[in-house]
């Protein structure tokens, strides 16, 4: 059953954020009514009895590999994986080939996302040209492009030059940008393979000290404070990092942070078998780090969960450890892992999950409509968008207004906003999750083109039953609608 935005849907009996059963009527891309006993009035009815309704998940950190490594993933397959994981928006990291360091490349990725249609794709722009770490990329051009880039990151590489980092943080203030730093001091991690500690000494793999991450985070927090800009810390992995971020936040500085699902569940003990499926950057850390990350996410020190979905073809993992690629897939398992790591131990309730996986990441990515939002181009105009002027911003409330048309090329439509509450007037972006089931992860069933999940063969709770993007189902009964 495919349907489109024009087809109204009545979701019957979903538990909003895990609360009491509620009906949701979706029409014209919006939630138009919420309550009990809503009449179908010709809408398609989805029986969501017992399912938890969450706002569509937002991922701040995914590697969709297109352009350049279409053998590992494409925007099509990566967004399909995202939709199956309950996501309605993903941020695509800039380390493509060519690098997403110009307006042209970020617009290409943005358009590929529009065409794929499984979820919104928000490109992340590179901080430095070619990720080379020597001079700034044209950040303003990417911000002004149709893709409206707001997050900039050299992810995979650290902007280790303190002057360059300072300039980047300062420069993006002009367009409300944020620098997302991959915190890894390069000299301390030359040849590094696994967390430096008891396990690295035992297995004889070069250690990756926690201080290499923490030293950069501390420096960047101080720099962000000094220039009054916004810093986002990618994939925090150590207990010390959590402490530093907690301290920076206590000062009122504009610092946000993310943690990956795998760092919430897995430890470096898994490295002992030398299976590179566990090779990831930053590396898996110790049980004490995992506990601190969970606590940090629970108390809000860490703002959100981001997947760092990093697909790789088989031959880049079916090797000896040292030559294998870093990274794990994550989009299709993220919510289930958070369920196991955070919800089941009682560290987060479902409202908390919604906050950490939708509301806060949307706010950090400037997708929450607070600063004005892009509107959906009308069908037929999708390829004529050209440059998106600032004047196309909506009212910011996320409501279905008649719209302002700065460029004149857009029809009114629901705003491209995410992380809004599940109330009438919000865009109908949501995920329906069955918390009662459990199953073993089988990567051969994944939509991602790659199979490098560390959860292969692991039993995890839950299942994403359906995902809606602006009122249109992208996933029904756990399967893609197209």
């Amino acid at each position: 059953m495919t349907g489109d935005g024009a087809q109204p849907w009545l979701i019957r009996g979903a538990r909003l954020l895990g609360g009491p059963a509620t009906d949701l009527l979706l029409a014209d891309g919006l939630i138009v009514e919420a309550g009990t006993g809503i009449s179908a009035r010709g809408a398609q009815v989805l029986d969501a009895d017992g399912l938890i309704a969450l706002p569509g998940l937002v991922d701040l950190h995914a590697h969709l590999r297109e352009p350049g490594r279409e053998d590992a993933e494409t925007v099509q397959t990566g967004t399909a994986a995202a939709a199956l994981g309950g996501f309605t928006a993903v941020h695509a990291m800039a380390n493509t080939d060519p690098v997403a360091d110009t307006a042209g490349v970020v617009e290409q990725i943005w358009r590929l996302g529009r065409q794929a249609g499984h979820c919104d794709v928000q490109p992340v722009g590179a901080v430095t040209a070619g990720l080379a770490g020597s001079r700034l990329a044209e950040l303003g051009a990417m911000a002004d492009s149709a893709a409206r880039v707001r997050i900039f990151s050299d992810d995979g590489r650290c902007v280790s030059d303190a002057v360059l980092m300072r300039r980047a943080l300062e420069y993006v203030k002009a367009f409300d940008g944020v620098i997302a730093q991959h915190a890894q001091e390069p000299r301390l991690t030359e040849g590094a393979q696994v967390n430096e500690g008891e396990v690295s000494g035992r297995v004889g793999l070069t250690g990756w000290p926690a201080v290499a991450e923490e030293a950069i985070i501390a420096r960047d927090c101080l720099l962000a404070a000094h220039v009054g800009s916004a810093l986002h810390v990618c994939h925090v992995s150590t207990a010390g990092s959590v402490e530093i971020i907690r301290w920076a936040k206590s000062k009122g500085w504009r610092v946000t942070a993310e943690v990956t699902p795998h760092h919430l569940l897995l430890t470096d003990e898994l490295v002992a078998g030398y299976d590179p499926v566990y090779k990831v950057n930053p590396p898996l850390r110790t049980a004490a780090d995992v506990a601190a990350l969970r606590q940090g996410l629970a108390d809000g020190t860490i703002d959100c969960v981001a997947t760092d979905h990093a697909p790789h073809p088989v031959e880049e993992k079916d090797t000896e450890w040292q030559v294998a690629a870093f990274g794990m897939t994550g989009l299709e398992t993220a919510l289930r892992v958070v369920h196991q790591a955070m919800v089941q131990p009682g560290l987060l309730d479902w409202a908390g999950v919604a906050d950490r996986m939708s509301v806060r990441p949307a706010a950090i990515g400037r997708l929450d409509g607070a600063a004005g939002a892009v509107r959906v181009p009308a069908a037929g105009h999708a390829h004529s968008s050209g440059r998106q002027a600032g004047g196309t911003h909506g009212s910011g409330s996320g409501t279905h207004g008649s719209g302002t048309h700065g460029g004149g090329s857009y029809e009114a439509g629901p705003a491209l906003v995410h992380g809004r509450p599940l109330i009438p007037g919000s865009p109908a972006n949501l995920a329906l999750y069955d918390e009662a089931t459990r199953s073993v992860v089988d990567p051969t069933m994944h939509a991602s083109r790659s199979r490098n999940t560390p959860f292969s063969g692991v039993e995890l709770p839950g299942r994403v039953q359906a995902t809606f993007l602006r009122g249109r189902p992208t996933v029904l009964d756990g399967k893609l609608t197209r």
Binding site: Q193, E196, G197, E198, S200, G201, R202, V203, G204, L205, T206, G207, P209, G273, Y274, E315, D318, T319, E320, W321, Q322, V323
Partner: protein
């Protein structure tokens, strides 16, 4: 015993003693006019060497041949590896040729472990990166036992680049398993940060340990460490952590000096120490063949036939 020998951690005390005792019996073959046993006739042993290591490769080759195995030597130089073939494809090729055992030396820690997942034959780790070199530890234990009559209760001091040493890792595990008290001595830069979790003592002071050491094992200082700020100069390293004749004088009379080779004479060990009566360096090489015979015998022959094949061969 396990089907493979990848880490000393794969062995229990009985396994380790069985290897040493078997090696002791097999060592007698070396004293015979015909140094050959028919035990592994018709079996194929592949030496898969991705790193240059003439002494270890020759030792394994001699061991396999004395047991009458067919030996195929594969070295990375000039092979399909130079053309970019993966370790896995190389392994599958060897598998198709019917290797009963693969002896692997590789620069990547864990390479032997990975190989064991891809081939049906037994895998013997002949040194993987900075991880382990179990047959070196076994031949060292064998040498200690021959010279000093026992291992249990001995004080063994291992000196040098522990951080990067597969020999140190395997020796700490094995000598502890056999009851020795091991102390590591190194500049702090060349010790793993979590070395306190290892089953041994750690010291930065060589001189205080020598008078109470039964065994001193010197590790090689790799050339690539010399300019990477692990220590200021080779001269200072040698002065603080090298074993020269003066230091050797402070050892108990019965104490022995070991080195896995190849040595940097004048750096970690002085020439007159290396050539002294305390030095076991040449014996270690000879014992290496006996120990590797024992390992191949137990992995390939002994597993099915218990001890009977060895008995029959004698």
């Amino acid at each position: 015993m396990n089907r493979h020998l990848i880490s000393i951690a794969d062995l229990n005390r009985d396994d380790a003693l069985l290897i040493l005792d078997t090696a002791e019996e097999l060592a007698q073959v070396a004293d015979r006019p015909i140094r050959k046993l028919p035990t592994l006739r018709g079996r194929t042993v592949v030496n898969l060497f991705f790193e240059d290591s003439t002494r270890t490769r020759i030792s394994f080759e001699a061991a396999a041949k004395r047991l009458s195995a067919d030996v195929i030597n594969f070295s990375a130089k000039g092979s399909s590896v130079a053309k970019g073939e993966s370790l896995k494809d190389t392994a599958l090729t060897l598998e198709a040729m019917g290797a009963d055992a693969v002896v692997i030396r590789h620069a990547a820690s864990g390479a032997a472990h990975r190989l064991a997942g891809w081939v049906r034959g037994s895998v013997v780790n002949a040194g993987d990166g900075m991880h382990e070199h179990p047959t070196q530890a076994l031949l060292d234990a064998f040498t200690i036992r021959r010279r000093l009559g026992r291992i249990d209760g001995l004080a063994v001091t291992i000196v040098g680049d522990v951080l990067h040493s597969r020999v140190a890792r395997s020796n700490v595990l094995l000598l502890r398993l056999l009851g020795a008290d091991v102390t590591l001595v190194a500049p702090p830069t060349l010790l793993p940060v979590a070395v306190s979790s290892w089953p041994c003592e750690v010291s930065y002071d060589l001189d205080s340990l020598l008078p109470k050491s039964d065994v001193v094992m010197m590790l090689r200082v790799q050339a690539e460490r010399m300019n990477a700020a692990y220590f200021p100069t080779v001269r200072e390293y040698s002065r603080r952590y090298g074993l020269d004749a003066d230091r050797m004088q402070t050892l108990p009379e019965h104490a022995i000096v070991m080195h896995p080779g190849p040595m940097n004479r004048g750096v970690e060990i002085a020439a007159d120490v290396a050539d002294s009566a305390r030095s076991t360096i040449v014996e270690q090489v000879a014992n290496g063949v006996s120990v590797r015979m024992a390992v191949l015998y137990l992995l390939l022959g002994g597993a099915q036939a218990g001890g009977s094949q060895l008995e029959a061969a004698r």
